[in-house]
């Protein structure tokens, strides 16, 4: 019997997007003049030639079953014009060529459970990671934490009532795949890895693991007569970098893997340069299925910002104006010695001046 013919991959790479563009987007490609927002969740773009297109943006759960995607397709076919795109924050966008089509499309999306919003000065969908659903090194879940928080921020997604746009992210380990955000939720381990010395020699390429450690706390060692690795626990910063290349160095701990909250990350170059986010709270429990302690702090920071920031101030701009003393004062979060940077370049994060707000 002959072997079945094996199919060779066609290395076609990134496909041309032209066949998938809404016809008005294809026609006015590179020729748009301005846009405005007739209501939250709706963008209205006007081309130099006078063409207009309306976009309705709605939130999704990102992790979608085929039935959900087909439901979106049904809506796009019936109420829009058969085209849709997705934003970097997993919002779906459907384009229509007349204003009259907007209201029925908005209604159909909301009716089907997709909140219309996420534009302008709203709290948009949370950029997030895979977590327990699919990651091999997660300290927590992502989709669940996001669902729980977006349930609470639902109205802020549908309105544009923040001083400026608010981007949130969550990350299930300190690699921070969720990325920089105005407010970010990131796992922070608080204990060194627990090492299964029986497995290290067979599973881990030891020199590679030693090289991964940012503080040189790992060294090869013989443990119980077996080649293994040991961790200088006084040096260890519990980052978990050793865990991906060496799963027997378990860093995730149901009790001691906590959450930290970070604020003031900004990717845009608008006004100030892009900024990294700063840790402002830690020690929050990993408490599925709804992580209420995390939501509480995020909401505290978010609503303090909403009340206090001026128009167009992102969280980073707001803190730059009011200062960190006042940030901690207004949010009621404790400023502890752990929030004083001591990593490389730390001196640039200290206050080398008498600029102090009283």
């Amino acid at each position: 019997m002959s072997q079945p013919q094996l199919r060779r991959a066609v290395e076609c790479g990134v496909p041309d997007n032209k066949p998938y563009l809404h016809p008005l987007l294809a026609k006015n490609y590179g020729n748009w003049k301005y846009h405005d927002r007739p209501r939250p969740g709706v963008l209205h773009h006007v081309a130099h030639g006078g063409d207009e297109v309306w976009t309705v943006r709605a939130g999704t759960q990102r992790q979608m079953d085929v039935w959900t995607i087909r439901a979106l397709c049904d809506i796009a076919d019936r109420y829009a014009e058969g085209h849709m795109r997705f934003t970097i924050r997993s919002n779906v966008e459907m384009m229509v060529s007349s204003f009259e089509q907007v209201a029925p499309l908005v209604e159909a999306l909301e009716e089907a459970g997709f909140p219309v919003g996420g534009t302008g000065n709203s709290v948009s969908m949370i950029a997030h990671t895979q977590g327990w659903l699919h990651c091999d090194i997660p300290g927590t879940d992502a989709s669940g934490a996001v669902k729980a928080l977006m349930d609470e921020l639902y109205e802020e997604f549908r309105r544009e009532e923040m001083p400026n746009r608010v981007h949130l992210s969550t990350s299930c380990c300190e690699i921070n795949c969720g990325g920089q955000a105005d407010i970010a939720i990131v796992i922070q381990h608080t204990k060194p890895p627990k090492i299964n010395h029986d497995l290290v020699a067979n599973v881990c390429e030891r020199p590679a693991v030693v090289a991964r450690c940012p503080v040189a706390a790992i060294r090869p060692a013989l443990v119980n007569g077996k080649p293994s690795l040991e961790v200088d626990e006084t040096k260890c910063v519990c980052c978990g970098a050793c865990y991906p290349p060496c799963p027997p160095m378990q860093i995730n701990d149901p009790e001691h893997s906590k959450f930290a909250i970070w604020v003031g990350g900004k990717n845009s170059n608008a006004r100030g340069k892009p900024t990294f986010m700063k840790m402002v709270a830690a020690g929050l429990p990993n408490n599925p299925p709804r992580w209420p302690e995390v939501s509480e702090i995020v909401k505290k920071i978010l609503y303090t910002y909403k009340d206090d920031a001026r128009p167009w101030e992102r969280v980073a701009d707001w803190v730059e104006r009011i200062g960190w003393q006042r940030f901690f004062e207004k949010t009621g979060l404790p400023f502890t010695k752990y929030l004083i940077d001591d990593w490389r370049g730390a001196r640039t994060n200290l206050n080398a001046s008498t600029h102090i707000r009283f």
């Binding site: 991959a9 294809a26 992790q63 795109r85 100030g272 128009p311």
Partner: protein, 432 residues
């Protein structure tokens, strides 16, 4: 009909509340798919024990070394058998979407049909690197699913120490701030490196991202090794009708507080219309009959703020191109790094311009491949060797636009100073 569902009391609580629920979606899939019944079983266990249970491995398609994220369950009983056997293999195929993530419903329905046939039916739109994530496939079905997707004209993205799937913003397709053809550049650059995507052999991952303007909606400075960001060299363009429309709606307080005062370099002033300067670097536009905004474009850093506030009334210039930054990355190992400027400006209008960008990308990747340590990102490599060394290797001259400020310490060998000054002067003369 699938098998009986496992009890999932914790996940069930994520079906309440107004935001769309992934749990509800999973349960719908579980009506037909034993794999998803068991996925829910394992996920519920994770919620209960607060532990993850997936491990990686080696699964792929013929001819490729990457693009599939293998997942095997580690949740096993005392005999070493999977507790949830139908989800014992739950691999993901990373598929590169069209630039800008545009779809027709017809295309999405085709993806759904393929994934219902060969996979779990769970699709993430999109992963953090911008892939269509077809999640939940047995080892056996990976090739079948890929073959069908590949026949549709789609290809796998990157995983492991490889060039990764890229992202570009909606850009020219629907944004007035677009400063180059993002989708074209995205596709041309990425499709140059398909071998480096499909056969991982770099020291570590390498990501490109393309943003049409300095608003950087793709977060490229902080999350790509090479960020290509649209910008312009000439003056901000103005449209008096739209500026007057803004002023009529907002008034002087907003104009001053939200626009003028928020310019990071104080390049904008409010002037009496007859006092406006007329030098070549000035953009000026009346917002009422007697007063005007005056922008000195030499001071402007192209931050986008005023353009964002008065969209259309103020607009990027006409002499457009891109700034290229290199070295952005996430936390591990040395801490988060932003990309930094390597090419302050290059045109990206013609095929020849695009060829230069691809050539630059090729040089950066070649240098990275030869000089980075194992598991070291480009930004970490530059941190280790110094930007000047990196520039020298790329044969790019130093430019003051690459630094926030010149060095603040004397710890440098300056033996070569005179020669370098002479070299720059000679080059300047030659180009004059």
């Amino acid at each position: 009909m699938a098998k009986q569902p496992h009890p999932t009391p914790m996940l069930d609580t994520l079906e309440s509340g107004p935001w769309p629920s992934f749990v509800t979606g999973l349960k719908r899939l579980a009506e037909d798919k034993d794999m998803v019944v068991d996925l829910l079983g394992q996920l519920e266990t994770s919620y209960r024990t607060r532990k993850g249970y997936w491990k990686g491995g080696t699964v792929g398609v013929i001819g490729y070394g990457g693009g599939v994220i293998p997942r095997f369950t580690e949740l096993k009983d005392e005999h070493g058998q999977p507790m949830y056997k139908d989800a014992a293999e739950f691999h993901t195929l990373r598929v590169m979407p069209p630039a800008g993530m545009h779809y027709t419903t017809e295309l999405l329905r085709k993806f759904c049909d393929v994934w219902e046939r060969h996979g779990s039916g769970l699709i993430a739109l999109h992963g953090q690197s911008g892939d269509i994530m077809l999640q939940g496939c047995t080892t056996e079905n990976v090739q079948k699913a890929f073959d069908e997707i590949n026949e549709m004209g789609f290809d796998l993205g990157g995983a492991g120490p490889a060039v990764r799937t890229s992202m570009s913003c909606v850009g020219a397709a629907r944004c007035e701030q677009s400063c180059f053809d993002e989708a074209r550049a995205h596709r041309a650059v990425i499709n140059t490196f398909l071998d480096d995507i499909h056969r991982p052999s770099l020291p570590y991952k390498f990501k490109f991202k393309f943003s049409g303007c300095p608003n950087d909606c793709m977060n490229s400075i902080q999350r790509s090794d090479m960020a290509i960001i649209g910008t312009w060299r000439d003056n901000i363009r103005t449209d008096e009708a739209l500026v007057r429309k803004y002023f009529a709606a907002h008034g002087m307080n907003d104009l001053v507080n939200d626009v003028v005062a928020r310019c990071p370099t104080k390049a904008i002033q409010v002037k009496d219309a007859d006092q406006v300067r007329t030098e070549p670097s000035i953009s000026a536009v009346r917002f009422n009959d007697t007063q005007a905004l005056e922008i000195d474009n030499r001071d402007c850093v192209r931050c986008m703020h005023c353009i964002n506030v008065i969209t259309g009334g103020l607009a990027p210039g006409a002499d457009k191109g891109v700034t290229v930054l290199v070295g952005g990355k996430r936390t591990l190992k040395i801490g988060d790094l932003m990309g930094t400027v390597v090419v302050p400006f290059m045109k990206l209008d013609t095929d020849e311009d695009l060829g230069k960008l691809i050539e630059l990308a090729q040089k950066v990747i070649d240098f990275f491949a030869e000089n980075a340590l194992e598991h070291e990102r480009t930004g970490e490599m530059i941190e280790r060797i110094g930007l000047a060394t990196f520039l020298e290797a790329l044969e790019i001259d130093a430019d003051a636009a690459m630094v926030a400020c010149p060095r603040t310490n004397p710890y440098v060998r300056l033996d070569g100073w005179d020669d370098e000054v002479a070299r720059i002067a000679a080059k300047k003369q030659q180009n004059a």
